[in-house]
């Protein structure tokens, strides 16, 4: 029983690790968090957001865009170069338009996440460091 549970958790951890290492995971995560913070700082009812104009809907549009770009980075990493830079732009726009970018935290996280998504890719091969398991062989 416990052996089975251990095997299952190990399988889940391995799956999660390969998920993380084949896409800009952390950059996408910061983008999603940044978007969530910006939406949270301007969290109005749907009716208000639709009828109230830009000052009510900006949080949903800019924060929602950041969440969307984070998800694109995860599930369509092919577009990382584009969505990374767009996420940086959205995070900057949110500072002006959406409550100082979710009280500043959202903008900073969005810039960090967007940069990380943009810069994700093949790293230069590094000389092997003894005892470290940083490298993942692909194919």
């Amino acid at each position: 029983m416990t052996a089975q549970v251990r095997r299952r958790t190990r399988a889940a951890r391995t799956a999660f690790r390969s998920f993380r290492r084949t896409r800009p995971f952390w950059g996408g995560l910061w983008c999603i968090l940044a978007g969530a913070l910006i939406v949270r700082s301007m969290f109005f009812s749907f009716l208000l957001a639709v009828s109230g104009g830009w000052s009510y809907s900006a949080g949903y549009i800019l924060g929602g865009g950041l969440v969307l770009f984070g998800l694109v980075a995860w599930f369509a990493p092919h577009y990382r170069g584009l969505v990374g830079l767009l996420a940086v732009g959205l995070a900057l726009a949110a500072f002006v338009a959406a409550n100082l970018g979710g009280y500043l935290v959202g903008s900073v996280l969005g810039i960090l996440g967007g940069s990380m998504v943009w810069a994700w890719g093949e790293k230069a091969p590094r000389r092997r460091v003894a005892g470290r398991r940083r490298a993942v062989p692909v194919s």
């Binding site: 952390w26 109230g52 100082l100 900073v108 810069a119 994700w120 091969p125 940083r134």
Partner: protein
Amino acid sequence: MTEVRLGTRRRALVPLAGGLAALIAMFQLVSSSALAVNFTTADQEFKLYSNYLQGAQAAGFLATNDASTGQDNGVAELGIRSAKLAGLCAIAHETVPVVGEVSLMILAGVPVKGSFANGSNTTADGAGNALTFDADGLLTGGNHITASNLFVNSRSLNGFGNLISGMNLGQSADTVDEKAGIAWPGGQAQPDPGDFGLTVDRLNVGGLGGDTYGINLQGAITLPNLKIKVVPGRKTQADCPTQAAG
């Protein structure tokens, strides 16, 4: 080794540095009142303090406000066509897991006094500098916050009226916006004909403090000397001067 390592490359520093530099530049522009920002809140309770509010063409009526807790609160909706504020100190409290209670403080303009104990001390700011007025009783000097079409819905507002003129209490609530030349923002509670409404041509209030649920700026606001701080613990108005100085 012919393995491919995937990960965040060092070139991430390029957009990171560029983005943060742009953010700092925008912060500086906002802080020196060159860039106006959009600031809207609706359901979070804020404590709002200012040394002096100078408003031209204001209108108000009573309404209900839905808080995010689902609770309805009776509030006064106040709209001001153009306003000048000597110092702004907004405090919101929030409970964050692990850290406990934190206070979000937004400070702008001159420092706000630690208390407005009586009406006589409202003509100096939190740093002890006297506010200056011209012959007509209007605020002079730089570093004041200017806002146009400022809408506040608050549970309580208090202050010391310094110079109020052209006040009309009891005007039918659906006509006050026209009188003041403002338009209530769409989506919020709208006044019903025959309800209590008020209009003021000139509204100058010293030592303004309020429990507000929402600030809505249809126009732009300038925030000189802007500081945004998240500080642990429950901060009150008494912390405004020290936080503005530090």
